[in-house]
Subunit: 397 residues, 2 copies
């Protein structure tokens, strides 16, 4: 624990925002920092949750402990909806209370004696959970990295896909695509190379596809679209950014039966043991919501939610492009990655907050490779996003 | 992982039940095994959850990520309801998706280099999570114990309270009262000794009070009723057995600001970092249910739920007593601990299942000290409990 640097990124940003609001109590602060959904959940979905809640007061509708792995019907529906034709089955799906929580349970599965690689920059929960598990060495302030972690640098120069010829072998590779924070998505060809790399090295890929539905290009939405991936990868995902479930809490992890440890033992079997010991299943009410999400009507509603945030993304991209910035991401993810070459991310973050009352996220919070960037999230009300665009234009005109 | 013995106890029982039902497809199987609530949740509480679900479809009522530590109002309400006058405050409360999940997050906090003690017998998640974290040695089949764990034997002879003079010092002491599985509750005097023991040894007590509302005697419902406990103990609890929330998922952990690691660092600060990294808060809908539970009307409804199961408990206690068994527990907990001296718990479990179609829990599943006992859970519909009583009377007449 003592190795951890400062606070987890997002609570740290929340603290700074709170301090700012104390300093400027009348300011209209706009939050494009934490990727927190802002739009109401479609009624079709909340009605299903309300119905399940009411049913819990009836003898027939009451349910107590469910399977730790999730309700059978929901597992089957996730498999057929998101992995149709890919050979992923109901039993490969583990329903959870969210991808972040599952990442931590996966770390528990891997234990403290593994080595891991992450994209640099990447979602901080991978590294932080690794530090907490004791997998890493000390934080090295000169390079802003933890010892024993392989940082796979992702920059505009390499198209945000790491040069695998320079990546050392590790036991586990965390890989997020569409990526948080850069908003970039790996192509079929790139992911094929990643799968081959993992196969050659006997590594397990933890593929985070929480933004898959934001993909507009023809890139894979799941790692399992890549031949051979089932033998080297598991995948984690979530309803958070599709249905506005950040507060409801529902996600899933796919562990194909083909994925084995080096001794031949199925990874899914051990993970099942982990969830039985360290978890008690997602809320039955949230699971009812998940089932509603995966009906034709729910899927349509989710696509509308995603579409709304995609429009926001475009507004932000256009704004920064019009101001002459180099802008990345945005096409396949609700995140816009703006370059401020030579500047400190936290300085840029602070200047934007101070002068425009807009909360963004400093790129360096995602790893040393994020230095000089800020991430602008597209999760916000339309009026706020338009107002933010106006303020950015005033600041950088 | 490889050290773990067989399956986690309760999924193992579920498997055996399923096999039994396959063998006797027409049998009316009664489940008094897993302590899973069966009675509908009072409408007052589910209505509050349904209302919150509907509100998530409105601009004003929508909420995304909440504080990982739980909603302010719920934290305050838990503090004032269950810890009124004990000096526990809102910030000491961490709302969670259940006690089992929190136990695992606590293990993550403690890390792999700690020693721990458990009551023997005790709820298996303590030991299993410890094994997964790598805190223990190998399982020693001769004594049915893991190396590096201090098993504090609790038997009828010592009133189910360990002889602390024979207990070695450990970093962490898991202690559950009212106890699962023995149903016994520690007295004020016993807990005072436990607190003094922990203070002397510089140990942290993880006190599990998930059955506190089942207490009928004048024993403490919280460890914080014991003077000095705030410097040596944290406490975990849950709405599961009070409101039938086993499927809804809502619990909490109390970490007093007075509880410090040996270097003076507040335990709560590190746990806050753990929940921020490994958790994303309990479902907002479940939290709305928790708030409803803690209104006067909700408290009354919970007391009725608890009262119903207490009546079940009495039926089970009376049944086994009338059959001449030595019966423990039941007064302060929804579990009845029945002695079958000289017999194997799993044999008794199997005989009962085979001959009466009743699922119980073999005592040895809770540790070697549980050998020769079975746990009968009082969670069941009244008709089922009465029918079970009849079958037990036929079997053992």
């Amino acid at each position: 624990m003592a190795k951890l640097q400062a606070g987890y990124l997002f609570p740290e940003i929340a603290r700074r925002r709170a301090a700012h609001m104390l300093k400027y109590p009348d300011a209209n602060v706009i939050r494009l920092g934490i990727g927190d959904t802002t739009e109401p959940i479609p009624e079709f979905i909340t009605s299903a949750m309300a119905k399940r809640a009411h049913e819990l007061s009836t003898l027939e509708g009451y349910s107590g402990y469910g399977a730790e792995q999730g309700e059978k019907q929901l597992r089957a529906k996730i498999a057929s909806t998101y992995y149709g034709g890919l050979g992923i089955e109901e039993n490969d799906i583990f329903v959870s209370d969210g991808a972040k929580c599952d990442i931590s349970r996966l770390q528990l599965l891997f234990g403290s004696n593994v080595t891991m690689a992450v994209q640099d920059p990447s979602y901080p929960a991978y590294v932080d959970s690794s530090v907490i598990m004791g997998q890493t060495g000390q934080f090295q302030t000169d390079v802003e990295k933890y010892g024993n972690i392989e940082y796979m640098r992702c920059t505009p120069e390499n198209g945000f896909f790491p040069d695998l010829s320079k990546v050392s072998r590790t036991d586990v590779i965390f890989f997020c695509s569409p990526n948080n924070p850069t908003g970039s998505a790996a192509t079929r060809e790139q992911l094929t190379r990643l799968v081959q790399f993992a196969k050659k090295n006997g590594s397990i890929i933890v593929y985070d596809s929480a933004y898959g539905m934001y993909m507009t290009d023809d890139n894979p939405r799941s790692i399992f679209e890549i031949p051979g991936a089932k033998e080297v990868a598991l995948e984690t995902s979530s309803f958070s950014k599709y249905a506005g479930f950040t507060g409801v809490r529902l996600g899933w992890t796919v562990i194909p039966k083909e994925l084995l440890f080096s001794d031949g033992f199925p990874v899914a079997k051990d993970f099942s043991r982990i969830v039985c010991t360290a978890f008690n299943g997602a809320s039955n009410i949230a699971q009812a919501g998940g089932l509603a999400c995966l009906t034709p009507e729910g899927l349509k509603a989710m696509r509308e939610v995603v579409g709304f945030y995609q429009e926001n993304t475009q507004i932000i991209v256009d704004t920064f492009k019009s101001l002459g910035f180099n802008v990345y991401g945005g096409t396949n993810a609700p995140y816009v990655w703006v370059h401020f070459p030579g500047q400190s991310s936290w300085d840029v973050f602070s200047e934007i907050l101070e002068k425009t009352h807009i909360v963004t996220t400093p790129g360096s919070g995602f790893g040393p490779g994020g230095e000089g960037f800020i991430r602008v999230s597209a999760f916000g009300h339309r009026d706020d996003v338009l107002e933010a665009a106006k303020r950015f234009k005033q600041l950088y005109k």
